[in-house]
């Protein structure tokens, strides 16, 4: 199967597996069964085995998976075994939260520059990241090999920012603004929707009554 055809939901599950394996590793666990890993991720174990089989055979029947080896394998599949230099557009509350979210840099997702249109924000340094004027975008990204652009602007500015990202060769965009971004096929845009998390809590909470 061509990697690009892998459905988004499968990639999401791979990321869930990686997070769970990191926790098991931190607890000093060396081996894990597919049942145990699946349960930790809220997935059934047949699904987990099928997901991993997309990317070649892994694990030994009756023995389980080596936690560090499987984690390394999944990180290589995800492409999170390397550094991903990023830029941020929009230094509002969410932008500030992202710049201060040290777990991102620990996982190789490192902001190299931030942009805003607000004079009061331009020139500030947030967690070692400089905030530039949006109009400086062109020459700032010339200095940095940026791979991912993150949009945390109001909805009204998101498309314009995405167009600017794309014009300057950024191929991967994560959009937190509540609006769908139009983009050419050779650019990846992930739309983040935090409200989905609230739906999940609602679903399970209602069933406790």
């Amino acid at each position: 199967m061509s990697d690009f055809k892998i459905p988004g939901i499968t990639v999401y599950r791979l990321a869930l597996y990686a997070r769970a394996l990191e926790r098991f590793l931190a607890e000093g666990k060396d081996l894990i069964s597919s049942e145990e890993l699946a349960r930790e991720c809220g997935v059934n174990s047949a699904q987990l085995r099928k997901d991993l089989s997309y990317f070649g055979q892994f694990g030994v029947r009756g023995v389980g998976y080596s936690v560090p080896a499987l984690l390394k394998h999944i990180k290589r599949i995800l492409g999170t075994d390397r550094e991903w230099p990023m830029v941020l557009a929009g230094v509002g509350h969410l932008g500030m939260a992202l710049l201060n979210y040290d777990l991102l840099a620990q996982r190789g997702f490192r902001f190299v520059a931030a942009f805003d249109v607000d004079e009061k924000k331009i020139g500030r340094v947030i967690n070692d990241v400089y905030v530039y004027a949006l109009e400086q975008f062109g020459w700032v990204v010339k200095e940095h090999p940026v791979k991912i652009g993150v949009i945390a602007t109001p909805a009204s500015a998101a498309q314009e920012v995405a167009d600017l990202f794309i014009e300057h060769g950024i191929k991967g965009i994560l959009n937190f603004a509540p609006v769908r971004i139009k983009h050419p096929k050779n650019v990846v845009v992930e739309h983040s929707d935090l409200t989905i998390l609230f739906d999940k809590v609602a679903f399970y909470t209602r069933r406790l009554d």
Copy 2:
């Protein structure tokens, strides 16, 4: 199947379907095929039909789904056809972003009070939500029928806040702090991990090279 046994990943997909249906509805679309809805959600259509079949028969072969009827059906399953009064602990950058995220209230997730330990934040009103001192928690929640508690504190404070929520009868918790929360079985805790979104972008972006 007992609803409570529905795996987290299925609930996640249901929420994705609801979001896509909302977009189709906004575009004035009345009918949709399972293939079209599945594609919009990055899921395969057999999976979509299976998910919906958990909750009874729906749709007419060869005709597709009625967009408004299916949306209503899924919202009833998710429990998002009602109001979910919430409290927030932690009015930092992420907390501020959540309080200002109007899409949440539009979907019935309404903050009725926020809490912090920082004197400079206590007494402020953010998007109509009052910020109380954390020690006032007990009497504030007595006045409000709170269903969900949201944690946006630093990791070091998250467990203490969760314990306080649970002690006061909150059964649904959404935790944005990067730490696992210990909790009794009759309480639901969803851990949010924003880094998973970045993994997805990395996966697809790498494949464009």
